[in-house]
C-alpha cells in the first residue's frame, strides 16, 4: 500500500465512472435512441422513485432486494460450512480428494440453466431448487480454492510442526488452516460473484419476488427503465457485498501480504 487518497489510479477510476455517466446522458439527450433501447437517466431515476414508493408487482423494492439477499446469504452460508471443510480436507488428504474431485470436476463447468430444470423436477418450485442452484454455483470455486490453498503450503511448515511433535490433527488445525486462509477468502470472494450472477437464473422459474425476477419480469414488458434500475442496484449491492468480505478478510487474515 502506497500513500492513500489522491493517486493517479483513483483519478482514473473516478474519471471512467464519470465518463460513462456523461456518455449515458449525452447519448439519451440526442434522442437518437428510443427509451426501450437506452432509457434516459431521468426515467431510470423516476422508476427508482416509483418502485421504491409503490413497489413492483406486489412487493416493495426492499422486499425484492431482501428476498434475493436472503436466498444468497442462506446459500452462501451452506457453501461456507460445506465447501471450506471439504476443500481443506481434500487438499490435506488425497483419498478424500480422489472421492470428491470427479463429482466437482464434472458439474463445475456446466451452465446452471442446463441442470436447473432437473433441480426443479427434484425439489419443486419453492425455495429449495433456487437455494440448491445458488449453492452449487458457489460450492465449486470455494472448494477448488481451498484445495489449492492447502497444496500451496510450504512443506517446511508441516515438517517443522512434525519435528516439534505435532500430530496430524494439530497440524491440520494450527498449520494448514491458517496458512490456507488467504486462498480460502479468494475462493469465497469468487463464489459470491458467481452466486450473484446465478441469481437471475435462479429466479427465472416461478419466483414472484427478488431482484432477478424483477429484472426478468420488467424485460418481459420491455420496461428498460426498470431493467436498468434493477441492474444498477444489483451492481451496487454486489460491490458492497464484495467489500464486506474483503473487510472481514482483513480482520481475520491480518497478516496477509506479510508472510
Amino acid at each position: 500500500m502506497k500513500k492513500k487518497g489522491f493517486t493517479i489510479e483513483r483519478v482514473l477510476t473516478i474519471a471512467t465512472v464519470v465518463l460513462i455517466f456523461l456518455a449515458w446522458f449525452g447519448l439519451t439527450a440526442t434522442g437518437a435512441f428510443s427509451e426501450t433501447i437506452i432509457p434516459s437517466p431521468k426515467s431510470v431515476l423516476e422508476s427508482l422513485v416509483d418502485v421504491s414508493q409503490n413497489g413492483y408487482k406486489g412487493h416493495t423494492l426492499l422486499q425484492h432486494l431482501g428476498t434475493s439477499l436472503k436466498r444468497l446469504i442462506i446459500a452462501y452460508g451452506l457453501v461456507i460450512v460445506t465447501a471450506v471443510p471439504l476443500g481443506l480436507l481434500s487438499g490435506y488428504n488425497s483419498k478424500v480428494q480422489a472421492i470428491l474431485d470427479p463429482i466437482i470436476e464434472f458439474y463445475r463447468p456446466l451452465p446452471p440453466l442446463a441442470y436447473y430444470t432437473i433441480l426443479v423436477l427434484w425439489m419443486g418450485i419453492d425455495e429449495g431448487s433456487k437455494l440448491a442452484l445458488l449453492f452449487l454455483a458457489g460450492f465449486a470455486p470455494v472448494y477448488i480454492a481451498c484445495v489449492a490453498g492447502v497444496k500451496r503450503i510450504k512443506e517446511d511448515y508441516i515438517y517443522g510442526a512434525e519435528t516439534l511433535g505435532a500430530n496430524k490433527w494439530q497440524i491440520f488445525f494450527y498449520v494448514i488452516i491458517p496458512a490456507a486462509l488467504t486462498d480460502v477468502f479468494t475462493g469465497l470472494r469468487t463464489a459470491l460473484g458467481v452466486e450473484y450472477t446465478t441469481l437471475v437464473a435462479a429466479e427465472m422459474v416461478a419466483a414472484t419476488a427478488g431482484m432477478g425476477w424483477l429484472v426478468l419480469d420488467a424485460s418481459n414488458y420491455l420496461r428498460s427503465d426498470i431493467v436498468f434500475m434493477g441492474v444498477i442496484i444489483m451492481g451496487i449491492t454486489g460491490i458492497l457485498l464484495d467489500r464486506l468480505i474483503q473487510f472481514i478478510e482483513k480482520r481475520i487474515v491480518h497478516w496477509k501480504g506479510r508472510t
Binding site: K57, G124, I125, A206, S219, N220
Partner: protein, 333 residues
C-alpha cells in the same frame, strides 16, 4: 508521467473507437442490402409450411436467413435492435412492441388462437370453473397471449388476481411442476397442453374467450424501415402465407403432413393442432386488419396498463397507423 499520459490517451482512443465500431455494427443493415432475416417461433400456421416447403429461400428473391426464437419477447428485442426484419409473435408482445414505440407494422394475421391455448386443471384438484381457482396455484408464461387470456378470464368471472397464486413458468417447466403436483392448473399451449390433458380437465380455452371479445392471435410484424426499403419482399412474403393458408383450409391433410415433418411430431397431432386455430383468407385478412386488429391490440395494451406492466398505452389512432392491410391487398390482387 508524460509517457504514462500518452499511453492512457492511446488506450482511451482505442476504447472509443471500439465502442463506436460496435455501435455501427449493431445499427442495422444498409438500405440496399439485399437480404431478409425472418424471426420465427415455429407456431403451427402457414409459416411452418412455407419453411418446410422452402418457399422463403426459393421465392422471396433475396438472401433469406431464418432464426428461431422462443418467445415474442425475444422477437421484440431482435426487431428493436434491427437483428431481424420480419417476425411472428402473439398479440400481447405485438401490443407491447407498439406501446413501447418499437417501429413495427402489423401486416399479417398468422392465426387466430382457438382451443390451442387452454386452461387445464388437474383432475383431482376439484377445479371445474374459473371461480374454483381461488386459492389455487395457476401457472402460465407471463406476458404471453395465454397470460392475457387467463387474466381476462379471472376478471370476467369476478375473481381477484390476488386470490389466485399466479406463477410465471415456461411451458417445459409447467409440465415438470404439473407432474410433481406443484401446480393445480395451467393456461398453456401445445405440445405441453397435450401432456396436461392426459390427466387434466379443460376449464376454459381461448376460443370461448374470443366469443366474449377477448381475442388472441399470432401476427407478423415488419420493421417499418425494412418495409419501406423492400415492400416487394414483404408483399411476396404475404403471397406465400396466403398460399399456405389456402393449403391449410382446403387440403388439411397436406398441411398436417408438412407440419408434422417440420416439427417431427405425429401427423394426427399436427392435424389436431391445426384445428385449434383458425386461419384467415385474403378477404378475411383485409377485413380483420382494417377493422378489428387495431382495437384488439389497443385492448391488449390497455389491459397491460391496468396490470401496471407498462406505463401507458398510445391511443387507437397510433395502433391503426401500425396495422396495415396494404401488403395483403397488393398480394391478393
Amino acid at each position: 508521467m508524460k509517457q504514462n499520459f500518452r499511453k492512457f490517451s492511446a488506450l482511451f482512443l482505442v476504447l472509443v473507437l471500439a465502442v463506436l465500431s460496435f455501435a455501427a455494427c449493431s445499427g442495422g443493415k444498409n438500405k440496399d442490402d439485399n437480404s431478409v432475416t425472418i424471426g420465427t417461433l415455429d407456431l403451427v400456421n402457414g409459416d411452418l409450411i412455407a419453411q418446410y416447403e422452402d418457399w422463403y429461400a426459393k421465392e422471396l428473391g433475396v438472401d433469406v436467413k431464418i432464426i428461431r426464437f422462443d418467445s415474442g419477447k425475444d422477437i421484440n428485442s431482435a426487431i428493436a435492435s434491427g437483428g431481424i426484419d420480419i417476425g411472428q409473435e402473439g398479440t400481447s408482445p405485438a401490443a407491447l412492441a407498439i406501446a413501447n414505440d418499437i417501429d413495427v407494422e402489423v401486416f399479417w394475421v398468422a392465426d387466430v388462437i382457438g382451443s390451442a391455448e387452454t386452461l387445464v386443471a388437474k383432475k383431482d384438484s376439484g377445479i371445474k370453473t374459473i371461480k374454483d381457482l381461488k386459492g389455487k396455484k395457476v401457472a402460465t408464461p407471463f406476458a404471453s397471449t395465454a397470460h392475457y387470456s387467463l387474466l381476462n378470464a379471472l376478471k370476467q368471472n369476478g375473481v381477484a388476481e390476488t386470490d389466485v397464486e399466479l406463477l410465471d413458468l415456461q411451458p417445459d417447466d409447467i409440465f415438470a411442476t404439473w407432474q410433481r403436483n406443484d401446480i393445480d392448473a395451467a393456461y398453456v399451449w401445445y405440445p405441453v397442453l397435450d401432456n396436461l390433458l392426459a390427466d387434466g380437465v379443460v376449464v376454459t380455452d381461448s376460443a370461448q374467450l374470443a366469443e366474449q371479445g377477448v381475442i388472441t392471435a399470432d401476427v407478423n410484424v415488419v420493421r417499418r424501415a425494412y418495409a419501406e426499403a423492400h415492400p416487394e419482399v414483404v408483399q411476396k412474403f404475404v403471397e406465400l402465407q396466403l398460399r399456405a393458408n389456402d393449403i391449410i383450409n382446403k387440403q388439411p391433410d397436406i398441411a398436417a403432413q408438412d407440419i408434422s415433418k417440420k416439427l417431427e411430431i405425429e401427423e394426427a397431432d399436427a392435424a389436431k393442432q391445426l384445428k385449434s386455430f383458425s386461419y384467415l383468407d385474403a378477404a378475411q385478412q383485409i377485413e380483420q386488419l382494417d377493422n378489428v386488429f387495431a382495437q384488439v391490440l389497443k385492448d391488449t395494451a390497455d389491459f397491460l396498463v391496468e396490470q401496471k406492466s407498462i406505463k401507458s398505452a398510445p391511443d387507437l389512432e397510433t395502433f391503426q397507423s401500425k396495422v396495415t392491410s396494404e401488403f395483403v391487398k397488393a398480394a391478393s390482387k
